[in-house]
Structures are given as C-alpha cells and as structure tokens.
Symmetry: C2
Subunit: 354 residues, 2 copies
C-alpha cells in the first residue's frame, strides 16, 4: 500500500469535465491496488488568469513541485485570445513545462482497433500503427532568445537554439525508449538548411554510439511530414525538436483517427505532466458530451511514467479497451450502431471495468 | 508569333532525364502556337559543384536573369551530402531563389482523377482536393541572421525573422490568388507561441482590409498539419512562412497520392523558377524510368505564370490528362491493368497529345 500526492489542474473548456472522470477512474485504481492518492488542485491558463490575473503563479509551481505527478486538463479559449503574449493561457502551459524541467514530451500515436474506420486513411495503411514522437519540450524556438519586435515594429524575430546538453539528453532518452520497443529511431531535422539542425544531427549521431543495438536514421522534416502520410508504419520512435515535434505529433495523431483518445507525457524533470493531446474544445464545454478517454489515457501514462506503477497503468488501458469493445462511444466517435454515452457515463463504465 | 528565352537547369539525379521530356513538350507547344523558344543551359547544385566547385556561380545567376523564365530540374544527392553548408547543392537552390527575388512559392496540390486510388487516404476524403499553398520563399528562418554556432561549438542557432514588407507582399499575392479561386484564404502561423507569428498575423489582417471579398481565417501550424489529414477539402489557398510552408506543402502533396505529378512555381521576382516538388531521386537516376509528369506540369506553370501564356499552359495540362486517361503510366504510378511506359515514351505521348 503506497501513498501518492497528485496535483490536479482541471483548466479551461472541457478540462474540468474530463479530469473529473479521470479522478473517478483513479479512485477505482486506488481501491483495487490498495493505494492512497491525495489531490492538490491548482490552476494554470485561463482559469488562473481569471483568479489571479496571470496564467501561472509561483505558488502553483511550488505546489506542483511538492507532488509526485501533475494530472493536467487543458488550457485556452477565445475569452483570453487577445491578451498579450506573456498573459495568454498558453504562456501558463509553457511556463509550467519549463518550471518542471519536463524536457521530453512523449506522444504515442496508436490506433484503437475499434476505431480504425474513423481515420481518413485507408485501413491497411493505419492498422497496427504504433509510433511514438519524442518531442524536445523546453528548448528550441519556443524559448530561444533574443525574441520580440524591432523598436520601430517593422520586424519581428524568434531564435531557434539548441545547446549540446539539450540535444544530448533528449537523444539519450529517445534511444532508451527505442531500445524498449522495436529498436528503430528516426531523428527529424532540417539539416540541409539550418545550422541548428546540423548541430542536432551531429549530436544524435554521437549519442548513437552508445546504442549500437538501435537502428538510427535521419529524415528532413518536410520528408517526415510526407512519410507519415505515405507509410506511417515505417516509424517506431521519432525524436525531434520542439516546433517540428509540435507539428509532426499532431499530424501523426490525426492519422490514427483517434485524436480524442490520445495522451501525452512530459517527463525528464522533477515532476511529470500528463495531459490529453487535444485542446480545451470550448465549443462543447459544459455540455457533458466530451470524450474523457484521452484524459483517462493520460492517467495511464501518469501511472506508468510518473509513478512507475506499470500494472496499474496497464489495468487502465485494458479498461478503456474493454469498454470500447463493448460498443460504448461518446458522440465524437460514435457511429449509428454504437451505444452512445455521455462524458460521465463513459467515466463510470471505465471505472467499473477497472 | 513570339520569341522567348528560357534558362534550363537540368541538375542532378533524374533531373536531366525529365527536363529533356519537358523540352520535348515545349517544342510541340512552340510549333502549335507559333512561338520560338531559345534555351540557355545552366548548372545549379551538384552539377555546378562538379564543374565549378560551388553550387551556384555569379555567371549562372546573370545568365538566368537575362532570360524570361527558369525551367528547373532537381538538385542534390548522396555524393554531395557531407559538404559544409554553404557548399551543399541545396545552397545553390536557396541562392538562386534569393538572387531571383522569387519570394512566393506556389504549390498546388491537386488530385488526378485517374490516380485517386494511389493515395493512402480514402477516396471520399481526397476526391476533388484543389488547394494551393503559397509559401514565403526568401525570408524566415531559411535566411535569418544571426545563424551559426557558438565559438565553443556548444550551441547552434538560427533566426526566424520577418519584416513588415516581406509579410505584406506575400499576403497580397495570396489574397490576389484567392480572389481568382474560391475566395478563401487560410493563414498559418504559431501566433500563440512566436512573436514573429503574431507579427505575421497582424499584417495579414491589415492586408485583408483591401480584400473584403476574400474570407480569411487563421490556423496554428500544428492544427493545420492535422486539418490537412482530417479534411483537406476545407482549404482553398493557404499562405504561410518559409519553413511551415515547406512542411505543409509536402504533406499536402502526399495526401493527393500524386507526388510524382506535382509542380511548383517560385514567382514575385525578376524571373520565375519552375520545378517539380519531388527531389532528384538518385536511386532511379539514369534508368530512364522516372516519371516526367511533374516536370511537364512545371512547364505548364512556366507558361502560365512565367510567360502569361494561359492557352498554352492549359494545352499542356490537357495533354497530360489525356495521356493519363488513355491508361499510360510510368512504373511509379502504374497498377497491373495500366499500360506501362518509360520516361521517354511518356514524354513522346504527351508531346504528341499537344
Ligand atoms: C498550446 C500550445 C502552446 C502547445 C504547444 O505548441 O506546445 C500545444 O500545441 C501542444 O502541442 O501542447
Ligand atoms: C532542398 C530544400 C532546401 C528545399 C527547401 O526546403 O526549400 C526543398 O525541400 C523544397 O521544398 O523545395
């Protein structure tokens, strides 16, 4: 019997509705495996702006740093879109990633057998996709200095920068992950044009010397965007920088047709952050019809990567599969022959399946 | 009867083979419409490195600037991959784009009816796609300064920078193109994170005031990468910066399944550059089996955008369609029931169809 402290960030839009279902499921896990979870609720993003005037406070950071993992809903919405840069909800998300030192964003793109037909790609192209994008998350053009506007406002600029250490640690982590999977790593860059990419590539090659059992190849980012469409099954682990990873991981998730179902883990720092890859979906917020599965999959990642509770993680994943197999679907993934349920019902079903 | 001077750059890999077929077709156009084309052959990329030691010479630039349009094959190959940055074949391509002032890269993604099934996407998702990516081509992170490495080689960086003028002229051009099409423009950026993107967005909005008849919307680049997979038909014209355009246009072309068939035009400068979007395909170079259609489609763009010969351009496009309708295919797009032809035969057929 172990005790864990989890910080919980419900956030904006559909965040609160789906995080609630995640906690419901976690409580079942607690019972079944004899754990105790204590929750510390925090605000980041729009909800923090509304309460404190800023998207992230130092107190929130401190609270999160005192816990074992951060279970994260979603941030953002039209209400806050016109605020200046450093006051946008997104600044809260970037700020907490940085504060936690969560330099690696793991984004698995997998296909749920039951949902293969929801993809716009042909069944034979996507059936069995099992790839993971390892995105560098606290460097690159997202954080590079200098950034801003020229004094006369006739020019604006950002800097894509990587240090040796930043590239080395994400490369190592990606090789470690590849080693536990199909042992194939694709590093994505734009080394034919950018010096920062050439630098990235050279260091990845250097790190590869410690992983002779992993097959490494390099791909330009434009080609990677094409290859994901042409033959996504060729990939096992993809490692890349912050903005390329942002773009490619979203593309990869959409290929599966299961975007409402996919989770991500941001790790490598003091405390891991676990969130759905979808956004806050303000258009359906409050209606009780949002699909909580991505949030519940994030919970599985939290258990696995955040608390090293592999058995418990697997149990959550199996529960989701079972409920899908039984034919239950929220509106976003339902076809006519499915049993339609709302957010809370889906949460109940999965909790019961634990 | 008019006379035009065309600079011709055959280039590396399959370049020479397919450019030859383009010229074959152009000579038929000359006969039919009573034009004279004079050719000036130049070298850029690997072939220039082999001859002159650098990927682009001032003499080549001067020659091209003295002509009416540049018909461009492809550059690059493993032979030159390990050269330093400024000596790579790609540096020649970037150099000539910049020297010509060709700031707008037009990349139509269309589906050839006869090839719908070559796509990895479902027929109903892609049938009738007709979108064009307008990519800024001489600015952004490709050319931004400062760039390079720190002295101790512990850090590398590039700068994504846009000036007011650069954004304004590409935005105008994109609105003009949208106006002649379905009047829908999507501007793609990452304004929730990057100042340079916020700047881009503000100027696009400013320019939009002169185009009240065109519907403008904004999309983050990660979302655009998803939406292209989810529902590509929602797009008419996409305008975006250099690197986002590089990634998204390649993704968009691959959706159609017709990547060996698509062309691009780089315009806005003194002389336009017209080239296939595919690369130099060193693996099949010299075998005489490469698909010349993208190169011939580039010819159609050259006639249309470079020489303002709309009728002639349409004639080339119709000839390609006709030959496809008759069932002729190069190996890359052939299925069992097709009539298989090689590069030269495909060129002959299209030339005859003129
Ligand atoms: C909201 C935004 C700042 C964020 C990012 O770009 O990192 C999001 O797109 C993501 O991928 O988590
Ligand atoms: C070869 C490379 C420099 C080039 C680019 O990135 O612009 C290519 O990918 C393209 O899109 O034309």
């Amino acid at each position: 019997m172990s005790k864990f402290v989890i910080s919980v960030m419900e956030g904006d839009g559909i965040g609160p509705e789906i995080v609630k279902e995640g906690i419901k499921v976690l409580e079942e896990v607690a019972k079944k495996f004899n754990h105790t979870f204590e929750y510390k609720y925090v605000d980041v993003g729009g909800c923090s702006i509304d309460k404190f005037g800023v998207p992230l406070t130092q107190e929130t950071i401190d609270t999160i740093l005192s816990t074992d993992a951060l279970f994260f809903g979603s941030v953002g919405g039209p209400k806050w879109e016109n605020l200046p840069h450093h006051l946008k909800p997104e600044a809260g998300l970037l700020g907490i990633r940085k504060a936690l030192g969560a330099f690696a964003n793991l984004r698995p793109a997998k296909v749920f057998n039951e949902l293969v037909d929801a993809s716009t790609l042909k069944r034979e192209v996507i059936e069995g996709i099992d790839l993971i994008v390892v995105r560098e998350l606290t460097g690159g053009i997202y954080f590079g200095e200098p950034r801003g506007f020229s004094q006369d406002r006739k020019k604006a600029f950002n800097t894509m920068v990587y240090t040796d250490e930043e590239v080395r640690r994400i490369a190592k982590l990606a090789f470690e992950i590849a080693r536990q999977r199909r042992k194939k790593l694709t590093s994505v860059d734009k080394a034919n044009v950018l010096e920062v990419s050439q630098f990235w590539r050279d260091i990845v090659i250097d790190v590869s010397k410690d992983y002779p059992d992993v097959e490494l190849n390099h791909m330009y980012v434009d080609n990677a965007a094409m290859q994901l469409v042409r033959n996504p099954k060729q990939f096992d682990v993809i490692v890349t920088g912050n903005i390329f990873g942002d773009i490619l991981s979203d593309e990869a998730s959409m290929l599966t047709g299961s975007i409402g179902m996919l989770a991500s883990a941001s790790v490598g720092g003091k405390v891991g952050l676990f969130e759905p890859i979808h956004g806050s979906a303000p258009d359906i917020a409050g209606l009780g019809i949002a699909n909580p599965i991505a949030q519940i999959e994030s919970l599985a990642m939290l258990l696995k990567y955040g608390l090293k509770l592999d058995k418990e993680a697997k149990c959550v994943e199996d529960a989701v599969s079972l409920v899908l197999k039984m034919g239950y679907r929220t509106p976003d993934i339902a076809t006519n022959s499915d049993k339609k349920v709302n957010t809370a019902q889906m949460g109940d079903l999965i909790a019961k399946a634990i």
